[in-house]
Symmetry: C2
Subunit: 340 residues, 2 copies
Amino acid sequence: MNVAAERLQAWISRVFLKTGMADEHAQTIAGALVWANLRGIDTHGVVRVPRYVEWVRSGELNTRPAMRARSDSSACVLLDADRAAGPVAMSHAASLAVEKARGAGIGMCLVRMTTHTAALGYYTQRIAHLGMAAIAFAASGPNMAYHGARAAGVSTAPLALAVPGEDGPIALDMASGVVSLGKLAQARRSGEALPPDVALDAQGKPTTDARVARLPLPLGGAKGAGLALLIECMTSLIVGNPLLAEVLEGTPAGRKHSQNGAVIAVDIERFIELPRFRGEATRLARALKALPPQPGMEILLPGERGHRVAAQRRVDGIPLPAPVEEELRALARAMGVEDI
Amino acid sequence: MNVAAERLQAWISRVFLKTGMADEHAQTIAGALVWANLRGIDTHGVVRVPRYVEWVRSGELNTRPAMRARSDSSACVLLDADRAAGPVAMSHAASLAVEKARGAGIGMCLVRMTTHTAALGYYTQRIAHLGMAAIAFAASGPNMAYHGARAAGVSTAPLALAVPGEDGPIALDMASGVVSLGKLAQARRSGEALPPDVALDAQGKPTTDARVARLPLPLGGAKGAGLALLIECMTSLIVGNPLLAEVLEGTPAGRKHSQNGAVIAVDIERFIELPRFRGEATRLARALKALPPQPGMEILLPGERGHRVAAQRRVDGIPLPAPVEEELRALARAMGVEDI
């Protein structure tokens, strides 16, 4: 089934509304998930809805969070999210970072105790659309091998960067693993072989057999593992909600889903007029695209493929694979939401 | 030859002093280079001295820079470095970022028009030693293939992150390439084969033959290329000193060596007491080190190997390979500096 983004978003909003959350929050979550689908990041789209609803039921996602933003400095905010859904907390954090950046040139909001942040690039691209540069991190529990270890030690913690461009933001959203858990699951279903040095099996041995692959390996070995570890330090440890150690030590807190995040905004206009910045970004893009390509490859900017897919899917609608569609219909039915 | 760090630093300082720079600047450059040697990052150590001196002669490195720090906000500074040596500009930038962070919670200093920044981790680790978290970038001219291209499009732009730890900073300093230019050169000398997907030859074809390898490939393909591109955007384009486009377009400015950088400091104590942060960092380190290791591997924290090498080299001295030693002695002699 192909479905128009607006229709999908309205439907998913109604599902979240049924969990008892405010309409604004339901809209925010549905908006972040459908944005990912629009851009072709289907692993971070509406496929996540059933899990989000599970977290509501288990109490790990708070539908009526008492979020508290605390700031005792001109450029920093700590947002205690009280288990608010990731998109609710991170969208608010992005706004707070931008507000601080307007006053101080740079603004940072650290987010404590939220849930799955959805596609991190959603927040950095929003900031770039406002004419600012953005950096964001997200930390979660261990799901990736630490370099040199046979077991999960860190998460595939993403780093996102974005700046304004001529035709949409120049925007990178990269996980610290060689391959995502979503892609491992996809390979498991399709039965295709994995490249070497991508994943470990349950015993911690490198494998190319997708059926037994369990843990992604960190990008560049020590680099990706180090990046993931530093992201935990710069978010979870600073906000006093450690995620990795709790799970690795097997504490009760470690059995609950939780994430922390950080959003930094930089007011480019403090340094250079925005049209000049955009002009230079366009000039750089043109120079890169003029390079001789590898056979059969196209030279793309970070985020460009997503902009294109979004343009296409705004016309064609978002394709929902049958199993996802069925799961969502069943969930909606069970929650008393009319069919899409 | 093995030489004590202090003696090497004093000698290298005298070489830089002869170029006409202030004693303080000569000390700063020598200090940054010898720090890299101490930690085993020999590619960013005193091996760079002859090149730095060449840049003085060509006018690309200004020995008497009129650095100007401009700030019209509580958290940001633009440091126009006037072609000051990288370590001079970046050390000053780190101090300015820390000063702003003390007042505003987070502080950023963008650096315009400096030269080779030396080991970027030097600045972030200094900030971590002051009890703050740090992020730094550096941008330089194209020396790495852009993803999908058969030619250099971006630089192996490094990203460095550091936080205070119990036994020295937890500190990552990663280039955005699969392999450094230094390692390519080393493989060329030793004749060893390269792994696949590491480098391109002069025609832009992938090669495992170190003798013809010219360009490193970006880490993780689109990820490393995107990171390098975003670092150029977030430094060079914001400070109005574009590096990549000038070279790619073959302009006169593109023929001059130049770098730009950024240093961000975050005052951890605004969010959490430092002893508690350090305690959590230690706890996390312990949990990671307790993971089952891969056969023959040791589980290390980012920066840990460097801390160890430094402890050893403080006792044994810094090993200088004969060709490096000879080149430095000849340079010192030619500049009228007494032998080490």
